[in-house]
């Protein structure tokens, strides 16, 4: 299935883009991260969280959403 991935802050710098659509055949967030970390090796050393449909999810969560966001540490305020 096609998944829209959004990158923010430092992670948009690392991947050099703010969004992309990838075709993903796996099941879990962890599998998607494997794909992304192969594509962008620099991601491996970064601290980030994953949101699916605007809710934070763990790496063991099943991918059901069309929109996944890769979020660096929040630093509002």
């Amino acid at each position: 299935m096609n998944i829209n991935i959004k990158y923010f802050g430092l992670l948009a710098e690392v991947t050099q883009q703010e969004a992309e659509t990838i075709n993903f055949e796996g099941k879990l967030v962890s599998e998607l991260l494997d794909v992304l970390q192969s594509k962008y090796p620099a991601l491996k050393n970064k601290d980030f969280k994953v949101a699916q449909n605007q809710e934070l999810v763990s790496i063991n969560t099943e991918i059901t959403g069309q929109e996944i966001a890769i979020l660096p540490p929040f630093s509002g305020g």
Binding site: F8, G9, L10, Q54, L71, G76, G77
Partner: protein
Amino acid sequence: MTDKKPKNVFKQGAIASEFIGESIAKHQSKTSIGAHNIFLGQVRADVVDGKPISAIEYTAYEDMANTKFHDIREAAFEKFNLTCMHIYHSLGIVKAGEICLFVFVSSPRRKEVFKALEYIVEEIKAQVPVFGKEIFEDDTHQWKKNT
């Protein structure tokens, strides 16, 4: 009053002191209010390796952020006896000395506003996907980390 739909908390650029003054003035017709408490986040010109920060550029995962602001708002109305609550956060460039976060709570009683304001500000820092890029005078940058 609680709103049922998330509204847009973000403002482009810095939050003006006049806007804050006007927000206060608007509450003077609400004569059940006895106490207001206001938090303002201001961009600090921290010096890193000899270079001062001249501005922060804020970006956000806006849809998720507005949903989180809304959830924080609903939770605060649930927990505390509040008459009003307003939250504004900057997007884009905010220069050192300018205001990037404005949280305003009002209640009949002062004890409520103290507890509510600290709760809301801590929740914003922890739960809302906003990202600050700290820009130095020489145009290099680093990514802000909340402490």
